[in-house]
Symmetry: C2
Subunit: 597 residues, 2 copies
C-alpha cells in the first residue's frame, strides 16, 4: 500500500522564508493566519489526509463508483464517512467568506491543503474541489438572493457543486453548445440537453447537488455570445431553502475512465430541468471563466500532488529495495545487495521529481498569494500587478505542472521496476489518475495557446515585462552572492532564451498566427523552466539565510542547495532546445496535407 506524509514543513518554509507570507498581513484574513495557526491547520489537515483519505485511495480505485438502476450513484466504501469528517472539519469553507459560514482564511492556505488532499486521494479531492469552484462562480456572478440560498450549504459541504460544460460534440469549442434553455412563466428556465464528463455529477455524499450548466436561451445569438449560465439544483430548494422537489435531471451513465475511478464522472441528462439564470443572459462563458481560472490553478496543484506522493513512495522504495551493487563498490556489504538508491540513475529520477515538487509548490503558493491580493487588496495598483502575474502564470502552471507531474508519476513507477506495473504498490494508479490533469479544464495545448495568444500580448506585454524584470533581478541578486553565484548562470541563460522566444513571437506570430500555435507548447515549457529556475534561486537564497540563522537546519537547507544545483545542471539546459524548436516556425508543421497524415 502506498504511503503519504503531508509536506507541512516545506509549505511553512515556502510561506514564511521564501514568499514573505507575513508581509501580506494587511489583507483580510491574513492577520489571523499566524505561523502557529498555519502550522496547526496544515498539521491537522495533513493528519486527516494521511489517516482518513489516503487509506481509501487504492480501495476507491478498485471499487470505483457504481450507478444503480434508479440512476443514483454509489461512491466507494468509506468515501461518505470521510467526506462527512472532512466537511465537519470546516475544510471546504477554509477560505470562504465568513458571512456564509466560511473561515475567511487566505486562499493560499486552501491551495496548500488542496495539495495534501489531492496527494492523499485525488478522486476524493474532486468532490470538495468542484464545490469550491461553484462557490467562486456564485460569489462573482450570482445575485444576493442566490448567494444567500446556496452559499452556506456549499460552504458547509452539506451540498456540493459541479460544472457542466462539455457535450458529446463540443469540449474546447463551447460555441457549439446545444443544450437549450426555454423561458418558464415564473422567470426560471427549462433546461434540456446532454452533458458529458461531469465530475461529481451524481453521488451519495451530499443531500443536494448544485449543477452550474451552460446552455443556450431560445433565440440567443449563435456561437459563444449566446451562451448563458444556469443554476440547476438536483433538488429544488423549498421555501425554507432546504432540498425539496426532485428536478428533471439524471445521471445517464458513468464514464469508464483510465483513472480517478473513485470520482463519479457522469453523463448528465437534463430533461426540461428547472434552472435559474446566474449573471447576465448570453454572458455565461464569462461567468464560467471565473470558475475555470480557479479550477486551472486547482488542476495545476493536481500535477504537483501526484508528483509528490509518487516521489515519496519511490524514494522509500529506493531506500529499501536491495538489488545489485553500487558502481563505485558495495555500500552495504553485509546485506545481499545494496539499496537501489545507490545508483545514480535512480537518484536522477528521484531528484528530477523532488526538484520539481519543491519549485512547483513554491510557484503554486506564489500564484495563490497573487489570487489573494486580487481578491482582497484595497490598493488598486497592487491588485493590477497581482492580476497580471496570476493571469500570466495560470496557464503556465496548469500546462507545465500537469505535464511534468504526470511524467514524474511515470518516473516514480519506473523506480519500482515490474512492481510499479502491478497494482500492489499503487504506483500505476498514480499514473492513471495524474493523466487526466493534462486534459481537463482546458487541455494543455489550450493553456499554451492562452499563454502565447492572450496573456503575452495583453496590455502590450505589461505582465510578461514585469515578470522578466523580476527574474532578472533575482539573477542579479544571486550573482552578487559568492556562495550562490554559480546557480545564477542557468537562469540567466534561460531568461535570455525566454526573452528571445518572446521576441520571436512578437516578430513572427502577428503576421502568421500559425507560428504562434506551432511555438506555443515549447514556449509554455520554456516559461515553466525559467519560472521554476527562478523559484530555485529564491529558495536557495532563503536556505542560505536560514542555515546561517539557525545551524540546526543545516542538513535540511543543504539539501535545498543541492536540489537547486541539480535543477540548474540538469533541468535548465532544456531551455536552449525549446528556443531552437520554436524558432523553427510553423512551415514544416503546416506543410503536410491533412490527408497525408
Amino acid at each position: 500500500m502506498p504511503i503519504y506524509q503531508a509536506p507541512v514543513r516545506n509549505v511553512q518554509f515556502l510561506l514564511q522564508e521564501v514568499l514573505g507570507f507575513q508581509a501580506y498581513a494587511q489583507l483580510p484574513g491574513f492577520a489571523e493566519a499566524t505561523p502557529d495557526l498555519i502550522e496547526a491547520i496544515l498539521t491537522e489537515c495533513g493528519r486527516i489526509c494521511e489517516e482518513v483519505l489516503q487509506p481509501l485511495n487504492v480501495s476507491g480505485d478498485r471499487e470505483g463508483c457504481k450507478r444503480q438502476s434508479d440512476g443514483s450513484v454509489t461512491t466507494p466504501k468509506g468515501f461518505k464517512q470521510a467526506y462527512d469528517a472532512y466537511a465537519e472539519g470546516g475544510w471546504i469553507g477554509l477560505a470562504a467568506p465568513v458571512e456564509y459560514g466560511g473561515q475567511g482564511l487566505p486562499y493560499t492556505l486552501a491551495a496548500a491543503i488542496n495539495e495534501f488532499v489531492t496527494s492523499a486521494n485525488m478522486s476524493f479531492s474532486l468532490y470538495p474541489g468542484l464545490t469550491r469552484g461553484a462557490q467562486a462562480a456564485l460569489m462573482v456572478h450570482a445575485n444576493e438572493a442566490q448567494k444567500a440560498l446556496y452559499m452556506p450549504k456549499l460552504v458547509s459541504g452539506e451540498w456540493s457543486g459541479t460544472m457542466n460544460l462539455t457535450e458529446p460534440h463540443c469540449g474546447t469549442d463551447l460555441g457549439l453548445i446545444k443544450t437549450r434553455a426555454a423561458r418558464n412563466a415564473d422567470g426560471s428556465f427549462a433546461i434540456t440537453g446532454q452533458k458529458i464528463f461531469i465530475s461529481a455529477g451524481e453521488h451519495d455524499l451530499t443531500s443536494n447537488i448544485i449543477h452550474l450548466v451552460l446552455a443556450r436561451i431560445e433565440g440567443a445569438p449563435a456561437g459563444t455570445k449566446g451562451i448563458s449560465l444556469f443554476i440547476v439544483p438536483k433538488f429544488l430548494p423549498d421555501a425554507q431553502g432546504n432540498a425539496g422537489v426532485r428536478n428533471a435531471l439524471s445521471c445517464g451513465s458513468i464514464e469508464h475512465k483510465m483513472g480517478i475511478h473513485g470520482n463519479s464522472t457522469c453523463v448528465m441528462n437534463y430533461d426540461g430541468a428547472t434552472g435559474f439564470l446566474m449573471g447576465e443572459e448570453n454572458r455565461g462563458l464569462n461567468a464560467m471563466f471565473v470558475m475555470m481560472n480557479e479550477a486551472r490553478l486547482g488542476v495545476a496543484v493536481q500535477g504537483l500532488s501526484m508528483s509528490e506522493v509518487a516521489y515519496q513512495n519511490a524514494a522509500a522504495y529506493a531506500r529499501d529495495r536491495l538489488q545489485g551493487r553500487a558502481l563505485s563498490g558495495a555500500k552495504e556489504a553485509g546485506k545481499p545487495a545494496d539499496p537501489i538508491i545507490v545508483h545514480p540513475d535512480v537518484r536522477r529520477m528521484l531528484l528530477e521529481m523532488r526538484a520539481f515538487n519543491e519549485a512547483a509548490r513554491g510557484l503554486i503558493l506564489e500564484a495563490a498569494l497573487q489570487a489573494d491580493v486580487v481578491a482582497r487588496a484595497n490598493d488598486e495598483k497592487a491588485r493590477e500587478e497581482a492580476e497580471d502575474m496570476l493571469g500570466l502564470l495560470t496557464p503556465v502552471l496548469k500546462g507545465v505542472l500537469t505535464d511534468v507531474g504526470f511524467d514524474n508519476t511515470v518516473k516514480a513507477q519506473q523506480v519500482f521496476g515490474g512492481h510499479g506495473y502491478v497494482g500492489e504498490w499503487g504506483m500505476e494508479q498514480f499514473v492513471r489518475d495524474a493523466r487526466i490533469a493534462m486534459i481537463y479544464e482546458g487541455a494543455n495545448g489550450i493553456q499554451a495557446l492562452d499563454l502565447v495568444g492572450r496573456k503575452l500580448p495583453k496590455d502590450n506585454g505589461r505582465a510578461v515585462m514585469a515578470y522578466f524584470k523580476k527574474v532578472g533581478e533575482a539573477v542579479q541578486h544571486t550573482e552578487s552572492n559568492a556562495d550562490l553565484a554559480s546557480l545564477a548562470k542557468g537562469v540567466k541563460s534561460g531568461l535570455d532564451h525566454l526573452q528571445k522566444a518572446t521576441m520571436w513571437l512578437m516578430q513572427n506570430a502577428l503576421a502568421k498566427p500559425d507560428n504562434a500555435g506551432a511555438a506555443s507548447n515549447d514556449y509554455m515549457h520554456l516559461f515553466g523552466l525559467v519560472a521554476m529556475g527562478h523559484m530555485w534561486l529564491v529558495m536557495a537564497q532563503a536556505a542560505l539565510r536560514c542555515k546561517a540563522q539557525d545551524p540546526s537546519t543545516a542538513a535540511e537547507m543543504d539539501a535545498k542547495l543541492i536540489l537547486a544545483r541539480f535543477y540548474m545542471e540538469r533541468m535548465m539546459p532544456e531551455t536552449g532546445a525549446r528556443l531552437a524548436r520554436l524558432s523553427a516556425g510553423a512551415d514544416a508543421i503546416m506543410a503536410l496535407p491533412a490527408d497525408a497524415f
Copy 2:
C-alpha cells in the same frame, strides 16, 4: 473502437529503397524473399492483424485473463481461435529453421510482422513472442535431442514457451535467485521455488507450455556464477514426444496489472518440478542472455508498435473531430467548426509521432538485418561488424523506442482530449499497454548502463567508432546534395554532441563510475536522437531518388521530405541539452544522503 492498418508500404520502402534488402540475397533464406513474396507476406499478415487480432484488443483488455480455481488460466474470448489461426498460418515459425518445420525466412521479416501483430494486439503478441524467444535459446544452448524434442512443436505453435527469471526479491540482480534445483537419479533435476511476472506462464492456447527456468543447483557457487537454465515443461513429454504427465508446477495467481490484461502474467510455483538442464551447469545466465537480446529487440518493436497504432487513431480523429477554427481563418466555413488537424499544436503532436515511427521502423529493420547477418553470414568480418552494430544498437533501441513510444501513446491520447481518457476510443489502453515495455527485459535504466558500461568500451570502442564513421559519411553525402543539404546540419551537430559525450565518458567515467551512471540515460537518448536523425537522412536520400525515378510517388515522397525536415527542426535540438546535462557529472546527484530523500 480503435482502427489499425498495417504499414506494409512503409516497410517495403525501407527494405527495398533504404536498407538495400536485396543486397543480402547471398544469405540463407534471403534469395527466396523477393519483393513480391515480401509484399505477399506483409499483406497477408497485415490482414490477419487488422481483421482477426485487432478486433480482440479492446475486448481482451476488458475481459482479461482469469485464473480458475483449479489453477488453469482462461484467456479472453476469441484468443484461442485467433491463436490457432495465427499458428496455422505458419507465422510463429516464419524465420525458424526449415529442419524444425519453420519457413527459414529472414528474421528481418519476422521483426516486420512482429510490429504489425503488436500494434493490433500487444497482449496477444506476447504469447507467440515468448515462444520465439524460447526457440532462440534452444537453438543456441540446447543439445540435439532437446532441440529435436521441443523445437518442432514450438515452431508450429502447438506448444508455447516462457522465460522464468524474476523472483519476488530479485529482478535486475539475478545473482540473488533462490529457486533451487536438486539432482534426480535419472539426471534430471527437481526444481523448487517461486517466479513472478511470468508472461504467458499459464493459459489455454496451447496443449503444453515449455518453461525456461533459472535456478541454482545445490552446491553451486553464490551469485550469478551459480545459476543454471532448465527446461521445465508443464506436461513432461512422453516417449513419443507428446505432452504426457503433468509436472509439479502451477500458476499461483495472476498479477493485476496496469495493462496488457489479455496476457496472463503469472506467479509460477515450482514444487519439485522435473526440469532438464539446458547448456552447461552454472552458465544459465549466459544462455538466458541469448534469449534476452532477441527479446530486447522484440520489446523495442513494442514501443514502435504502440506509437504507430496510437498515431493512426489520433490522425484519424484529428481529421474528423470538428472543434474551433484555424488560427489563420476558417478552413471549412461550411461546417460548424474546422477539423482539429488545422491546429499547429495538434499537427506537432502527430508529426512527432509520425517522424518517430518511420525512423524507428527503419532502425528496427536495420538492426534485424544485422541480426540476420550475425546468424547467417559466412563471412567472419561481416558477422563481426554486424554483431558490433547489433550489440551497440540493441540497448539504444530498447530504451529509446519504448520511452518515446510510450510518450507518443500519451500524445495520441492528448489529441482526443477527454475522449482519450475514457475507454470508448481505446486510447488509454494503448498508454497502459505501452508502459510495460519500458520496464521488462531490463528496465530502461539497465539498457542505458549496458550501453555506457559495456557496449561503448567493448573492443576499445570499435563498434561506436564504426557507427560514428557511418553517420559522418551520411552527413557528408547529404551535404553534397543541394536539395538535401539543409537537413544535414542537425545530424552533424547531433553527431558532434554525441562524440563529445562519448569523449566525456571516456575521460570521466573510468575513474569515477558514478559519472557513467549519472550520464547513462542522457547518453542513451542522445544516441537515439542521432540514430533516428541518421535514419532520416538516409530515408530522405531514398525519397528524393524514388521521386525522380517515379513521379507518381511524388506526394508520398514529399511527405517523407517534410517529415525529415520536421525531425531536424524539432527533434534534433534536444541533443545539445542532453550533452549539457550529462556533462554536469554525478556530483550533485550523489551529494544528497539517502535518508534526505
